[in-house]
């Protein structure tokens, strides 16, 4: 169990670093959603299904949509 949790945390770290490195904002939004998705897996494994549901629905779902829509209305590439 602890190995799965460690792998999840590693993937989250990689995705978080990727979010800050990507110049393409859509890619950054997608990796940011990946952080939320793996965080929700981790919450589920830690017996916190309430938080996992909120994280999956709001963090990985709606926030991503709102970011994508906002990027579409502005510029896609960071300068």
């Amino acid at each position: 169990m602890i190995i799965i949790q460690a792998v999840l945390i590693l993937v989250m770290l990689v995705a978080a670093v990727a979010t800050s490195i990507f110049r393409d904002l859509i890619s950054a939004v997608v990796t940011c959603a990946a952080v939320s998705l793996f965080a929700s897996f981790l919450f589920y494994l830690l017996d916190a299904p309430d938080v996992a549901m909120a994280e999956a629905a709001i963090g990985a779902g709606l926030t991503t949509a709102i970011f994508v829509l906002a990027v579409r209305k502005t510029r896609r590439l960071e300068e």
């Binding site: 309430d50 996992a52 549901m53 909120a54 709102i66």
Partner: protein, 226 residues
Amino acid sequence: MRKVLALLLVLAVGAGFCAVLAEIPFGEDKVDVANHYVNNGLKETGAANIVTSVVVTYRGFDTLGEVTILFIAAIGLGAVLFSEKKAGDKEKEEASLIVRTGSKLLFPFIILFGAYIFMHGHLTPGGGFQGGAVIASGFLLMYLAWPARVAGRKRFSVVESLAGLAFVAVGILGIIYGAGFLANFLPLGTRYALLSAGVIPIIYVAIGLKVGAEFAGMVGDLMGRE
């Protein structure tokens, strides 16, 4: 120079977090309040889901504050994006047949699932916020399939306002019945039954509708205007 300073700042903040978190034992019960919730939550509130009993009953006032913050954020977004101009034809292109058919078939089930989550908030994991977010994601799917038919803000605002009023009205009814603001004044009913736990299901239905309408309205604002 700036990068080095930023790195030092991040390291300092990280070290601070590590120092604080090392002091907190993980997964052990040390706090009296937490013990009280775990041991007496079901008895006092009738809710099998202890998270719900904390969110709605013990810390009901905080939840009212959270709902207010979300409300203000939705109003702010609507005010920033407000314009009479509808989105151009470029954005009104319909999605492909697969997306349209798939979302049309999935939409009722997503709404049903969201309603299930917030109606059973006192029995199973989840609650008003989660169920509302699921409902809003159903609307998001429909908006992606039919960008031209983004529903008006008005209908969502009506649902949002009525649900918010219902939440506060239940709280004030608690004062009138002598239990206190947002406290339970209804019989607790049979444990684990759908209609039990007093006012918790009423409050969670109101929160679910409010959060769903708010998020759906926000996404609609972002999609519908240019």
